[in-house]
């Protein structure tokens, strides 16, 4: 027996299973990143001295990275719109662009890490550098997961569009939600870890 509302909207709740599941997952992610941001606030407010963050980390590179993620967010939303309009080729191109931008983000992030490690900075240097590495690495892991999903959706995953278009669109919408979420998390990290 088929599981109902996998792709179709349940009238009295107004969502599909996929969409609800993704929102619930993001709620949980808010608590995960929230706990780390809270730890940052508590450690910083309790510290005798806190380093000048922007002189330690690479603000220009991170600013470029922020722009890249914002552009990729626009791209994935437009990809979903293209798919909704039935333009599969355009969807695939935009989704591939999203994934590529994600990979560029990770490449720039690794250049940043390499620079910091070359300067002798380690997680153990002080609590700011420790939190910087832990939080941005956790974020980078989330980006990696998102890139893999996006690659799947514009690659082999697109076959599903042929036989179950509604469900495939639901998947793309969920992927877009997730991608925008990690974009928002990055913007918060950029403000908190680089600028403040």
């Amino acid at each position: 027996m088929e599981i109902p509302y996998t792709a179709s909207i349940r009238p009295d709740t107004g969502v599909t299973n996929q969409k609800l599941g993704m929102w619930l997952f993001l709620a949980s992610e808010v608590m995960l990143f929230g706990s780390l941001f809270s730890s940052y606030a508590l450690l910083r407010s309790g510290a005798m001295s806190w380093p000048d963050q922007s002189s330690i980390v690479n603000v220009p590179l991170a600013a470029v990275n922020t722009g890249i993620l914002i552009v990729s967010s626009v791209a994935i939303v437009r990809a979903a719109t293209a798919l909704r309009g039935g333009n599969v080729a355009r969807f695939r191109a935009l989704m591939a662009a999203t994934a590529t931008l994600g990979i560029v983000f990770l490449a720039i992030k690794s250049v940043e890490y390499r620079g910091e490690l070359a300067e002798g900075l380690r997680p153990s240097t002080n609590n700011f550098v420790g939190l910087y590495f832990v939080m941005t690495f956790l974020h980078a892991m989330h980006v990696t997961g998102g890139v893999l999903v996006n690659l799947f959706l514009c690659g082999p995953g697109v076959n599903m569009n042929g036989h179950d278009a509604a469900r495939f669109l639901g998947r793309v919408d969920a992927a877009a939600l997730y991608w925008n979420f990690i974009d928002v998390i990055w913007i918060l990290m950029f403000i908190v870890l680089y600028l403040l």
Partner: protein
């Protein structure tokens, strides 16, 4: 074959996988307690029978070393909470029963469901593996407080990795549970027609979803402290073993406690809510009456779920948090006791005027009420800062939370196993063995736990390796420790009839009817017993009435199934 029994996507098979695995962990966790009770009763004497198998590193000549005792206690707590009771009440009962009770063909995300089980198993195995690494299992208590835990042996790293996996598993499970309950209810099954068990599982899933990630964040930070040499939880100027610690410092050990208890207080309600749900089902069924105050109970647990996020620091009254903050947290703590009392009162009033059937599940469900009552009421003095200060970290605390979880939650889980066993296997469990199991467990549980309250009030600390023999104020009470240990060993013996009953009834149990308890909920009336392999229902049932239509005046039977259109 593998798809059917091992990597199954069917919620019933996954539920049974959860059930067997968590019952196994329940046995392991209990065995650790059986073992360390020897040390508390007869400190410094060689452990009989099993002493020589504990290893020379842990127990030279069979005498337990303090480090090994700490491992046993830390792992007893960790295993019981995270590997036994939560997976059994949520993973097993939730998985098996939610789709059947709401008239759904399966959980909303079957693959996620399978992933949840296998991540749980991986987390459990990592935890168990820690016993075999250098330095043994984690020995910093189930709360893993830093700085102690940061400098503990390698086992603590396993604890953190295991916990990370368990939280991922809980995330998968809770997303699935909520989506299933919200989306897959059968036509006509409106919110206030849901069985109370479903409500309890829904609130529990929200707690798992939102309270566990902060511990995941904390575990990541502690992992960094241990492996990368950061000092998130290490203050400046720390000395370990007389040596100054060469770390950057400036960390905050209390940060861990905040993150840990932000998880672990909602966790308390994760432990108790499914149990309340099970007891509600069984009491309504065996009193042949609707639950008294069903709607109020639902509102109470919704409020309980919300409030449980606002009480965590009552575990930390002794951290010097100041009077304003402790006043806030003791106020919220007093408020959160109200919904628990509402649920317990409603369950108690449900008994009034019923013609009660005293079968095995009902005995356990009835015992739940006073046992959870003692557990809950003994917690009130701990919620008030003034009385918590002398009681903090004494055996009284241990007695309090064990009353809630052991004869509270675990009795409810036993009740659930006896109640739904015919649903799962098509056969009844033996009532005589069930009665022996019940009476023995009830007496022994109280024999272990009530003296804890007495010891705690006398000021005996909870983390003493010798049961308090080195302190003058504890020595006159040492006889209690001996008695408690005998009760624990007897409790172990009284579990044998249960284990036999579970396995032997598969073959020798009386064949059950489709609806042996004459229940109203969908799992008994719309689905075949034992259930078909896939799909659960021949057709998705339609629901016409609330969950507990027992003894309706004018009806042909004393129960009207939810899917019955006419009386």
């Amino acid at each position: 074959m593998f798809r059917k029994y091992v990597f199954s996507l069917d919620h019933k098979v996954i539920g049974l996988q959860y059930a067997l695995t968590s019952l196994f962990f329940l046995l392991i966790g209990f065995s650790l307690a059986v073992l360390f009770r020897w040390q508390l009763a007869y400190p410094g004497q060689p452990v009989p029978i099993v002493g020589r198998w504990l290893g020379e590193l842990n127990a030279p000549g069979g005498v337990m070393l303090p480090e090994f005792y700490n491992q046993l206690v830390a792992m007893h707590g960790t295993i019981m909470v995270f590997l036994a009771v939560v997976p059994l009440s949520v993973g097993a009962f939730g998985n098996y029963l939610i789709p059947l009770q709401i008239g759904a063909p399966d959980m909303a995300f079957p693959r996620l469901n399978m992933a949840s089980y296998w991540t749980y198993l991986a987390g459990g195995l990592v935890m168990l593996a820690s016993f075999f690494v250098s330095g043994g299992a984690p020995n910093s208590g189930w709360t893993s407080y830093p700085p102690l835990a940061v400098f503990a042996t390698l086992g603590q790293t396993f604890w953190l990795v295991g916990m990370f996996l368990l939280i991922v598993s809980a995330l998968f499970g809770s997303v699935n549970t909520i989506a299933t309950i919200v989306q897959l209810r059968a036509p006509g099954l409106t919110w206030f027609r849901l069985p109370f068990f479903i409500w309890a599982q829904l609130v529990t899933a929200f707690l798992l979803l939102l309270a566990f990630p902060p511990l995941q964040g904390a575990a990541i930070l502690q992992f960094a402290d241990r492996v990368l040499g950061t000092s998130f939880f290490l203050p400046s100027g720390l000395f370990v073993g007389g040596q100054a610690v060469s770390r950057a410092g400036e960390g905050n050990a209390l940060l861990w406690q905040h993150l840990f208890w932000f998880l672990a207080h909602p966790e308390v309600y994760v432990l108790i809510l499914p149990a309340m749900g099970i007891v509600g089902e069984i009491i309504a069924n065996n009193t042949r009456k609707p639950l008294w105050g069903y709607r109020v109970m639902v509102y109470a647990i919704l409020f309980l779920g919300f409030m449980s996020f606002l009480v965590w620091a009552h575990h930390m009254f002794l951290t010097g948090m100041g009077t304003i903050i402790s006043a806030f947290f003791q106020t919220t703590t007093m408020i959160i006791s109200v919904p628990s009392v509402i649920v317990l009162t409603a369950l108690l009033l449900s008994l009034y005027g019923g013609s009660i059937r005293f079968n095995t599940p009902m005995l356990f469900a009835l015992a739940f009420l006073p046992m959870f009552g003692i557990g809950g009421l003994s917690g009130l003095p701990l919620g008030l800062a003034a009385s918590d200060i002398p009681l903090h970290d004494t055996m009284y605390v241990v007695g309090h939370f064990h009353y809630v979880v052991a004869p509270g939650t675990i009795f409810a889980l036993f009740a659930g196993i006896y109640y739904w066993y015919p649903k799962i296997t098509g056969r009844m469990m033996n009532d005589v063995l069930g009665w022996i199991h019940f009476v023995g467990s009830f007496l022994c549980m109280n024999g272990i736990l009530f003296p804890m309250l007495i010891l705690g009030l006398a000021g005996v600390n909870r983390r003493l390796y010798d049961g308090g023999m080195q302190y003058a104020h504890a020595q006159p009470l040492h006889g209690l420790q001996v008695g408690m240990s005998y009760a624990a060993w007897a409790l172990a013996l009284f579990q044998l009839p249960f284990i036999w009953n579970v396995f032997a009834s598969l073959k020798f149990g009386r064949v059950a009817d489709v609806n042996p308890w004459h229940a109203t909920t969908l799992e008994w009336t719309a689905a075949p017993t034992p259930p078909i392999a896939h799909g659960n229902f021949e057709t998705i049932p339609a629901v016409y009435r609330p969950a507990y239509e027992y003894s309706v005046p004018g009806a042909a039977d004393d129960f009207v199934p939810q899917n019955s259109a006419s009386l």
